[in-house]
């Protein structure tokens, strides 16, 4: 570069891309800026506001959703990366009005207080139990270490996960 050029425009709107994602079993399609984060796509485009945002460094886990069954932090994934894939959010946990065992566990064991981290915490739990239906307390604590809760001190969250594990294994309520 031998001569000064004009400053690059700070706003580089676009490019846009069409994103097709299946969310909680329903197909969705939208035109978004390619830089749109998955969490903003879910919240602002699809209006599914159960998935929350608690930080900007992928530490807090409030935005955790399932992407093809795997727990991911949706603040660190672009909407376009979800193209053609399955997303499951907290709104998709209960089926036919019946609570998912994880939801039931959080209520029964008082695993939530302000409720802000809860959706992410529950999605991480769903992914954990899919992989490990009978986790030990230490396994649970490590599995949820990427989800910060400021209210509960985690004791009852651990119990909620154990409740859900037992219920999911067909143990009924304890």
């Amino acid at each position: 570069m031998d001569e000064a050029e004009a400053m690059p425009a700070e706003a580089e709107v676009g490019p846009f891309a069409r994103v097709r994602v299946t969310v909680n079993g329903a197909p969705h399609e939208a035109e978004v800026e390619t830089r749109t984060l998955l969490v903003h796509f879910i919240r602002d485009v699809l209006h599914l506001t159960g998935t929350h945002i608690g930080c900007d460094t992928t530490n807090c886990g409030a935005c955790t959703v399932l992407l093809d069954g795997k727990a991911v932090k949706s603040c660190t994934i672009l909407a376009v990366q979800a193209e053609g894939r399955q997303v499951r959010t907290v709104e998709g946990l209960a089926e036919d009005g019946k609570l998912h065992p994880v939801q039931e566990g959080f209520v029964e064991e008082h695993g939530l207080q302000c409720g802000f981290c809860t959706p992410g915490m529950m999605m991480t739990t769903v992914a954990l139990l899919a992989k490990n239906p009978n986790p030990s307390e230490d396994e649970i604590r490590h599995a949820i270490a990427g989800n910060l809760c400021r209210c509960t001190g985690y004791v009852n969250i651990v119990k909620a996960v154990q409740y859900a594990a037992q219920k999911s294994r067909g143990g009924g309520s304890k």
Binding site: E10, D44, L93, R150
Partner: protein, 777 residues
């Protein structure tokens, strides 16, 4: 049969139904047609002159509609706003910035992304000035004066003291044994997982509605009316679901005000939600007390006197959230659980080039600072006397028969019974055998420590003769309306942020009215519908609004009794309230339930009586409440790495009458974890240029499930004699009590090496360095 779900029942929470379905309604969930987004340009400098703010490029960014600067606010006299402590704070600066991360300008755009692009395009030219980062240096004669706008050219804000200085000095001088200790309680941040934000919208009639992350919506409405000059009936503050508060959502932040101005300027609803980095670097901090404390005792181990001197770093303005008369909050609860005859406390507030604040971190107005100070000093003094810290405490506790107890610093403790709480904690954890184990371990060169904290809190502010915020008396309120079918709605001046008010308030009313808790809807947070109140912080909801619930219910019962007498054709004097209904004395089968009475109140009320069944109560507590507890912590220390592991932590709490034991236990778990966080992990530091270090969750470490100890809890019950149901408040006890127990345990583990104190947070690096220094690694 329907369960009543009255006081003492561990019923499941009503609010959970929406939260677990992702149907909570937090501020960022509010979406309105035509809504715009606001993002904020922030200062890279801790102290600088603003030479110019160039907004031309930003205005050309696609999607950007407006850029707001300090001078745009000046015309409306909104460039500055008052703080809760009668200081003033910039909404947006005109000529100077006072901390790194301060709001400098705001961009309004049609999307979050465009607003952020606009922020990047605003060009600000600064002339850097020397920042004042250290409060001790701020007090030196040649220090740059931060507040050029004030008449007094000094960084000293105020001096506050209570107690008898001379008598305390004399008593300390006459004491056989004294110890003096410096303690730094660092700047920390509440970091509720939901950050702060709002949506501001004007309707066609000029009425402003603001959905806001606030713990005190009614006070905010009044402040908006007074500061912005809007008629109060045209302001509606809605505090929807709040994702954690802990004190951080008490202040009015500049972003709220700018969003309102932006909504006015653009004619569109405007949303502002800060990101975590902004939240950590500019929202109100907690603590930041530099303390020197001196304590004395007789040879026999009887406490004599306590003297505490503190430098309080307030940042560039005193925006602390305290009752007006108490610039250092309720720090003078520092005599704790002990009957000092002489005590003296002084605090000096200082300006530095840091963000303002001085809010609680899940505690009632500087009570953690106080409890930590006294419980640390008690341990150091016990060590010097060669006494066991449990025995030393037992010997010195304020005796049960001394309550109500008047402290040397002026408080009247309502009730307490400290010995049994400590004894219970000792029994659960096996104190005596732990001490034996420690002796054995020391012989083998292993490091293990046991720490105690027997704290007394002061919550539930407060009586109107002493407590106000900006002149608003600190009462709180409840309004109950019983419907014809016997169901009810109750509204409160407080605002839950996770404490479960929808459940516990319903339980108080269930107990008092005989209406099942599930039939009582509880609403808070909407200033158009709820009765006026001062909000939720300082563990005040149960002591004030909880009491108001009981009092309002009792007013309803008075009327209900007349209706029951009418229905039963007896005289009211023949009726008694028993088993949650009115029945004829001596004839329990003849009675009327509240449901029957409610129906009659609308269908068959006595002639001459007003129809309906409702009441409200604005409760002005006669005194504060004084929850207490004894915590014991056992730690093991890895000599190679300096890592401290909390092996066990037993918390015995006494918060008076318990409304819902499940919720109380949950509050204690959470409080303990925030106490652990402050003791072990969290600190906001600044570099020499005033740049915040730890401005993200990568560096500011909240405890995860892995580090957090497995809490063990138990209780004793000593009701408050003046509260209608004997409850005291519990949301913050554990945060107040836990840090000292943890530090005492760590210091105990190292005491044989001559260690008497380590400042929090106790990082592996600090412990490892100490072990190296003492040659013990």
């Amino acid at each position: 049969m329907t369960v009543l779900g009255g006081i003492g029942q561990p019923i499941k929470r009503k609010e959970d139904a929406r939260f677990i379905r992702g149907k909570g309604n937090y501020v960022d969930d509010v979406q309105l047609p035509g809504m715009l987004y606001l993002d904020i340009v922030r200062s890279p400098y801790a102290h600088a002159l603003i030479k110019y703010i160039d907004i031309e490029k930003a205005l050309k960014v696609p999607g950007v509609l407006a850029v707001i600067r300090g001078k745009d606010l000046e015309a409306a006299k909104l460039a500055w706003m008052p703080t809760l402590m009668s200081d003033k704070q910039m909404v947006l600066p005109i000529e100077r910035v006072m901390f790194q991360g301060q709001e400098v300008a705001a961009v309004v755009a049609d999307s979050r992304y465009a607003a952020a692009d606009g922020v990047a395009a605003v060009q600000v030219e600064y002339e850097a000035m020397e920042p004042v980062v250290n409060p001790m240096k701020a007090l030196e004669k040649d220090a740059p004066v931060i507040r050029w706008d004030k008449e007094n050219k000094t960084n000293h804000i105020w001096h506050w003291e209570v107690g008898d200085r001379k008598a305390t000095d004399a008593a300390l001088k006459a004491s056989d044994v004294t110890v003096t200790q410096d303690l730094y309680i660092p700047r920390i941040h509440v970091s509720s997982i939901e950050t702060c934000g709002c949506v501001a919208a004007f309707d066609a009639m000029g009425k402003l509605t603001v959905w806001m992350t606030t713990q005190a919506p009614h006070a905010i409405r009044t402040v908006f009316a007074l500061v912005a000059g809007l008629p109060e009936q045209k302001i509606r503050i809605i505090s929807p679901d709040i994702g954690g508060g802990f004190g951080g959502k008490v202040p009015v932040y500049p972003g709220y005000v700018i969003a309102v101005v932006a909504a006015l300027k653009t004619g569109h609803p405007v949303k502002w939600v800060e990101d975590r980095t902004e939240n950590l670097q500019s929202d109100s901090f907690a603590r930041d007390y530099h303390i020197t404390a001196e304590i004395g005792a007789t040879k026999g181990g009887k406490l004599t006197a306590l003297k505490v001197k503190t430098i309080a770093d307030h940042g560039y303005t005193d925006a602390a959230a305290n009752p007006s008369k108490f610039p250092a909050g309720l720090f003078h609860i520092v005599t704790g659980s002990y009957p000092f005859e002489k005590a003296f406390v002084e605090v000096d507030g200082v300006y530095t080039n840091k963000p303002p604040g001085g809010i609680a971190y899940r505690c009632s107005f500087r009570v953690t600072e106080a409890a930590y100070t006294i419980e640390r000093l008690i341990d150091i003094l016990a060590g010097k006397l060669g006494m066991d810290p449990a025995e030393f405490r037992m010997k010195n506790f304020i005796p049960q028969q001394a309550f109500p107890y008047k402290s040397a610093l002026g408080w009247e403790y309502d009730s307490g019974n400290y010995g049994p709480a400590l004894r219970k904690a000792m029994d659960i954890i096996g104190y005596e055998s732990l001490r034996k184990e420690q002796v054995e371990k020391r012989k083998r060169g292993e490091l293990m420590g046991i720490g105690i904290s027997s704290f007394t809190e002061i919550v539930g502010a407060g009586p109107s003769h002493t407590f106000d915020i900006l002149g608003l008396k600190m009462f709180d309120s409840c309004e109950v309306r019983i419907h014809p079918t016997g169901k009810a709605i109750a509204r409160f001046g407080t605002k839950s942020q996770g404490q479960g008010h929808e459940t516990t308030y319903a339980q108080i009313l269930a107990e008092e009215l005989g209406i099942p808790a599930e039939d009582i809807a509880v609403e808070e947070g909407d200033t158009d519908t709820a009765p006026y109140g001062l909000g939720t912080y300082a563990s005040r909801s149960t002591p004030t609004a909880g009491a108001a619930a009981a009092m309002a219910a009792r007013k309803i019962r008075e009327k209900a009794k007349l209706i029951a007498a009418h229905l039963l054709e007896v005289s009211p004097g023949d009726l008694e309230w028993k088993d949650h209904k009115f029945s004829v004395k001596g004839l329990p089968s003849k009675g009327k339930t509240m449901q029957e009475i409610a129906f009659a109140a609308y269908t068959n009320h006595p002639q001459g009586m007003e129809a309906g069944l409702e009441a409200s109560d604005y409760y002005d507590p006669p005194n504060l409440t004084f929850p207490f507890g004894s915590y014991i912590c056992v730690v093991d220390i890895d000599k190679e790495t300096g890592e401290v592991k909390v092996r066990r932590f037993v918390a015995v709490d006494d918060c008076g009458t318990i409304i819902n034991p499940m919720i109380v236990e949950g509050q204690i778990h959470g409080g303990l974890t925030m106490g652990f966080a402050a003791a072990m992990l969290e600190e906001i530091q600044y570099d020499e240029n005033g740049n915040i270090q730890g401005g993200t969750f990568m560096d500011y470490l909240l405890p995860t499930a892995v580090e957090t100890p497995k809490w063990e809890t138990a209780k004793t019950t000593t009701p408050s004699p003046h509260h209608p149901i004997g409850a005291k408040g519990v949301g913050e006890s554990a945060t107040v009590g836990a840090p000292a127990a943890i530090v005492n345990a760590v210091v105990d583990a190292l005491s044989h090496l001559g260690v008497t104190h380590i400042d929090i947070p106790i990082t592996p690096w600090k412990v490892w360095s100490l072990l190296q220094e003492k040659g013990a690694a």
